[in-house]
């Protein structure tokens, strides 16, 4: 399963990196390559952009040549767990401005404990309240670190 994920992943990551390399080269060509004082801002990016294009092309070509090899299906469960956590974190970051750190972090923790680890809702609520409260006490009150504040004032 892992091999199949990697084969497809190598192909797609090679293509993404090739696109990034083309973007770098296109940008670098718009800047000075050499100036009377020496190399310009486009000098270094042009070289590493070309190196990235060559290496990503090599990765794509080697993957295309190997694609005839049979692989098993991708196991989406672990991928889904990781990506769900990432999405929950993204939602928590998006909620920082309206809700503040304490509430958005409590919601994130609640989601991880209750949904990702399937613990009882009471346990999830307890862990969420204790951890976000702990962060508020340690960082905001004890260390004086300013955390994002929401409409409730914390």
């Amino acid at each position: 399963m892992q091999d199949r994920t990697r084969n497809l992943g190598d192909l797609w990551s090679g293509l993404v990196l090739a696109a990034l390399a083309i973007y770098i080269i296109a940008q670098a060509l718009q800047w000075d390559y050499l100036t009377p004082e020496g190399p310009g801002p486009g000098f270094f990016p042009l070289w590493y952009g070309m190196a990235m294009l060559a290496l990503s092309a090599a990765l794509v070509v080697s993957e295309l040549r190997r694609r005839s090899a049979r692989g098993t299906a991708i196991n989406w469960t672990p991928l889904g767990r990781a990506l769900s956590t990432w999405l929950a974190l993204a939602a928590s970051v998006a909620l920082l401005k309206p809700l503040g750190f304490v509430i958005s972090f409590a919601l994130l923790t609640y989601f991880i404990v209750a949904v990702m680890y399937r613990r009882p809702l009471k346990t999830a609520a307890l862990v969420a309240a204790a951890s976000s409260g702990g962060f508020f006490l340690v960082f905001q009150l004890a260390l004086g670190v300013s955390l994002p504040v929401g409409f409730l004032g914390f």
């Binding site: 994920t5 990697r6 992943g9 990551s13 990196l17 990034l20 770098i24 940008q27 800047w31 000075d32 050499l34 100036t35 004082e37 020496g38 190399p39 310009g40 801002p41 000098f43 270094f44 990016p45 590493y48 952009g49 190196a51 990235m52 290496l55 990503s56 090599a58 990765l59 080697s62 672990p78 991928l79 767990r81 990781a82 956590t85 990432w86 974190l89 993204a90 970051v93 920082l96 401005k97 750190f101 972090f105 994130l108 923790t109 991880i112 404990v113 990702m116 680890y117 399937r118 613990r119 862990v127 969420a128 951890s131 976000s132 962060f135 960082f139 260390l143 670190v145 955390l147 994002p148």
Partner: protein
């Protein structure tokens, strides 16, 4: 004489109550981090870096270094009790350590790991103390071309040793160079790769990338599997944790082997503690009279890799502090920390900041003693951290990561970037792209471009300056050779395969 004076001055700094306290905090945190699978020293140091800005640089460096070498001590605990390495450098320790634990000798295995770590860790610091100052003096003759060549050499060695695919390691390095190039070019004031965003004009903060790639990436990778491993019970009481005299006698060569190999491998940029531990185990097995028993629970099989793993720390600090070249992800973060505090690691670092260098060296001696004292009797206590449920630990890491990034800039935009780098870190793990080369490319990218452009300004645009100077030419030649060696290996494989087919 200079060494003795430096060390006594360093001891005066390291023995200040505040520095002793931060050293203690660092080694305890390091031990805990080492014990916990899924949370490594790079992630921890990256997360704590923003919190050190309010500390004195000496205290902060002493604490962060304590985390670095403390994690090496803790890493063996899970290898022995769970057969799960806390750090990649402790993979080899599983072979004999876990077998010893299964035979009811977990205490002796933990004791040997702690003693080997102490002996080799101390030898590593001794090596750092003796090798770093003369190397820094030698490197004072370096100019921009030599610096560029040195960084090219460092990156070349790292990408070769960082993972299974050289292509991927090189690509990761180039992505690191690109991220380093985001922002305003200091030579021409041109804004590069900013996508029209004001927030990117000053570049992407190193802390955001490091926390995203290491901490978030690790949490997301760990979230894939919900279950936790079961550990072998830790024997209680100091007597049960002390190895027998026969064990120590069996390990006497392993202590020396681990110390020497670990330090030498550490000095090489890119080699790292994992290679040091494998190499030391291999040598130990090769010279042992009972090599067939390796893997069944022999104490030398624990002492050699654990020693090498710890001695490597002292070695790895040599190129970091004298040349400004980090050899791993963790030392790259330590380099960034020094730069953020206003220092310039390189040949002038030791002469300009003797108090910081010698204070750090002295604190490492003290820290090693603290770790031995902590690890022998308190291993059962530290092992309790493994009972901390994942559903409590991972949200805490996510919270510290968010707070760490927000502390640096106070910007929600940086938190958005953190999300992006977290996803990148996870995908890199998933697709087997090594993350250390990206971090090294990021850390060295700015300085490397500066050195190259300054060199070409000196030569009025002629690239020959890079090969006309002997030191620079030798280092560039070595870098090219290192990059070409695997191609020769591949060519040889093709040749042999072609010969086989012809013969068939």
């Amino acid at each position: 004489m200079e060494v003795i004076t430096g060390l006594s001055d360093g001891l005066a700094i390291a023995l200040q109550p505040a520095n002793l306290f931060w050293c203690f905090v660092g080694v305890v945190l390091g031990t805990l981090v080492g014990i916990m699978p899924g949370l490594g020293p790079p992630a921890t140091i990256a997360m704590l870096l923003p919190l050190t800005f309010a500390m004195s640089p000496a205290s902060a460096m002493i604490m962060l270094a304590g985390i670095y070498y403390g994690a090496k001590y803790g890493g063996s605990t899970t290898s022995i009790l769970l057969n799960v390495p806390g750090e990649s450098a402790s993979v080899v320790t599983c072979l004999d350590g876990y077998q010893m634990a299964r035979k009811g000798r977990a205490g002796a295995a933990l004791g040997i790991a702690a003693i080997a770590s102490f002996v080799a860790g101390t030898v590593g610091v001794l090596g750092l103390m003796l090798v770093a100052p003369p190397l820094a003096k030698f490197a004072l003759a370096f100019s921009s071309p030599e610096y560029f060549a040195l960084m090219a050499l460092g990156l070349a060695m790292v990408v070769l040793l960082a993972g299974s695919s050289m292509l991927k390691a090189l690509l990761a390095t180039l992505v690191g160079l690109w991220i380093a190039g985001v922002g305003t070019d200091l030579f021409s004031a041109t804004s590069r790769f900013t996508f029209g965003r004001m927030e990117l004009l000053s570049g992407i903060d190193f802390v955001v990338v490091a926390i995203g790639i290491f901490a978030l990436g690790e949490v997301l990778a760990n979230m894939e599997a919900p279950e936790q491993a079961q550990m072998v019970p830790v024997p209680k009481g100091l007597r049960n944790l002390l190895p027998t005299l026969q064990d120590l006698k069996d390990c006497r060569f392993a202590f020396v082997n681990g110390s020497v190999i670990g330090f030498l491998v550490g000095v090489l940029p890119g080699a790292g503690s994992t290679i040091a531990s494998f190499l030391s185990y291999g040598v130990e097995k090769a010279v042992s009279r009972r090599r067939e028993e390796f893997g069944t629970g022999v104490p030398e099989g624990v002492a050699a890799p654990e020693g090498a793993n710890n001695s490597e720390t002292g070695g790895a600090l040599v190129p970091l502090l004298t040349l400004g070249i980090p050899g791993s992800g963790t030392t790259a973060i330590l380099l960034a920390a020094l730069v953020l505090w206003g220092f310039k690691p390189g040949p002038l670092f030791i002469p300009e900041n003797p108090a910081l260098f010698w204070g750090l060296v002295a604190s490492m001696y003290i820290g090693n003693v603290m770790l031995l004292v902590l690890n022998l009797p308190l291993v059962p206590v530290f092992a309790q951290v493994l009972r901390l449920p994942a559903y409590v630990l991972f949200p805490l890491i996510l919270g510290v990561s968010m707070v760490g990034v927000y502390t640096v800039s106070g910007s929600l935009f940086d938190l958005g970037l953190l999300l992006g780098f977290g996803l990148l870190g996870y995908l890199m793990r998933k697709l087997d792209y090594p993350s250390a080369p990206l971090i090294l490319g990021l850390v060295l990218g700015g300085a490397m471009e500066r050195a190259l452009r300054q060199s070409l300004m000196m030569s009025e645009g002629s690239l020959t300056i890079l090969v006309a100077r002997p030191m620079s030419a030798v280092m560039l030649l070595l870098a090219v050779l290192i990059l070409l060696v695997p191609l020769f290996g591949k060519f040889n494989t093709w040749r042999l395969r072609a010969l086989e087919q012809k013969g068939g």
